[in-house]
């Protein structure tokens, strides 16, 4: 049922031309995904999806929308090259799925890798019940350090782009920037 809602919302996001409505639909999409993760018992991921996807990213998109126009520019004609690229990539990905291991087979690589080690040894290694936190912060803490640096870099990027005082309206119109 949730998956059906997800598909409906995804199609609606593509169809709608009002960017404000699109932002709201994306928030609904994230909330549905969070519900889906809750159903799948993935509390950490659900919490992240609800807070980041439905909350912060929606607010940031709305903040950007105050700087841009509300309606999407209709694209004239069809971009055949883009269609060809999408079709070729999609066909390649579909072909690649043939090499994936059989669905639900207990001998799949995903079941024989470090996952079973984590489930068996987390408590005696760490003494904490939340396996996700143990994997993120201790077993694979260098990955998480990289993520923290990615976030920090994002802040530096936004700072570099937006901390300069903008030109006046006339200069903006001359440069062809969108005027709200």
């Amino acid at each position: 049922m949730l998956l059906v809602f997800l598909v409906v919302v995804a199609v609606a996001v593509i169809r709608v031309r009002d960017l404000f409505a699109a932002a709201m639909l994306f928030a609904i999409y994230s909330l549905l995904t969070a519900a889906l993760f809750t159903v799948l018992d993935a509390g950490d991921v659900a919490l992240t999806e609800a807070a980041v996807g439905a909350g912060i990213s929606t607010i940031l998109v709305l903040a950007v929308l105050t700087l841009a126009q509300r309606q999407e520019h209709p694209a004239p004609g069809h971009n055949l090259l883009a269609l060809a690229v999408v079709l070729v990539t999609g066909a390649g990905l579909l072909y690649a799925t043939l090499d994936l291991p059989e669905f639900g087979n207990p001998n799949n690589p995903v079941h024989g890798h470090v996952g079973s080690y984590y489930t068996e040894h987390t408590y005696e290694d760490m003494g904490i019940p939340n396996m996700v936190a143990a994997v993120l912060a201790s077993y694979r803490s260098i990955d998480t350090l990289g993520e923290a640096f990615v976030i920090f870099t994002a802040a530096l990027g936004v700072f570099a782009l937006l901390s300069v005082r903008p030109p006046g309206r006339r200069a903006r119109e001359r440069d062809g920037e969108d005027d709200p």
Binding site: S141, L145, A155
Partner: protein, 152 residues
């Protein structure tokens, strides 16, 4: 803004709860769902709600922009320093076992410190990005008003 009376009263109740929940998620990440990243986002969300209702200037008086820059770097530095502390005490980088004599306590301390670093970085970065976007709009209006003044 008198007309936002209901919003202001509701926000006064809700914002402390959001911040408290963020701190709970931060410091109980190893027992229940959550961790530094989610806590940082929640904390920033509470602050953004404050901005939306009381305005950017009031919010920047609570947490100045300069502090956000410092904190965002400090969080990552805290993470690195915890890693280097493991090296200094005779382990590998980001190895928590040498930190304390009891292995479980050492792991918990390491995880909490590292998650605190992530939380500080995430919260300050999101607040910073929102501030930069929100101020852009008011800058546009200021510059436009100044130009109109000039043109007249």
């Amino acid at each position: 803004m008198r007309e936002n009376g209901i919003l202001r009263v509701v926000a006064r109740f809700v914002i402390p709860l959001i911040l408290l929940f963020a701190l709970y998620v931060q410091f109980h990440g190893e027992y229940s769902p959550g961790g530094g990243f989610q806590a940082g986002v929640l904390f920033a969300a509470g602050w953004i709600l404050f901005v939306l209702i009381y305005g950017l200037d009031a919010a920047l008086r609570v947490i100045p922009e300069r502090l956000m820059y410092v904190l965002s770097a400090l969080g990552v530095l805290l993470y690195c320093l915890v890693g280097l502390a493991g090296v200094a005490l005779g382990g590998h980088f980001l190895d928590f076992y040498p930190l304390l004599s009891d292995p479980h306590a050492a792991q918990q301390a390491g995880i909490i410190l590292v998650e605190l670093g992530v939380g500080i970085t995430v919260a300050s970065v999101i607040m910073l990005v929102f501030t930069l976007f929100a101020r852009r709009r008011s800058w546009w209006d200021q510059v436009d008003a100044a130009e109109e003044e000039e043109g007249r």
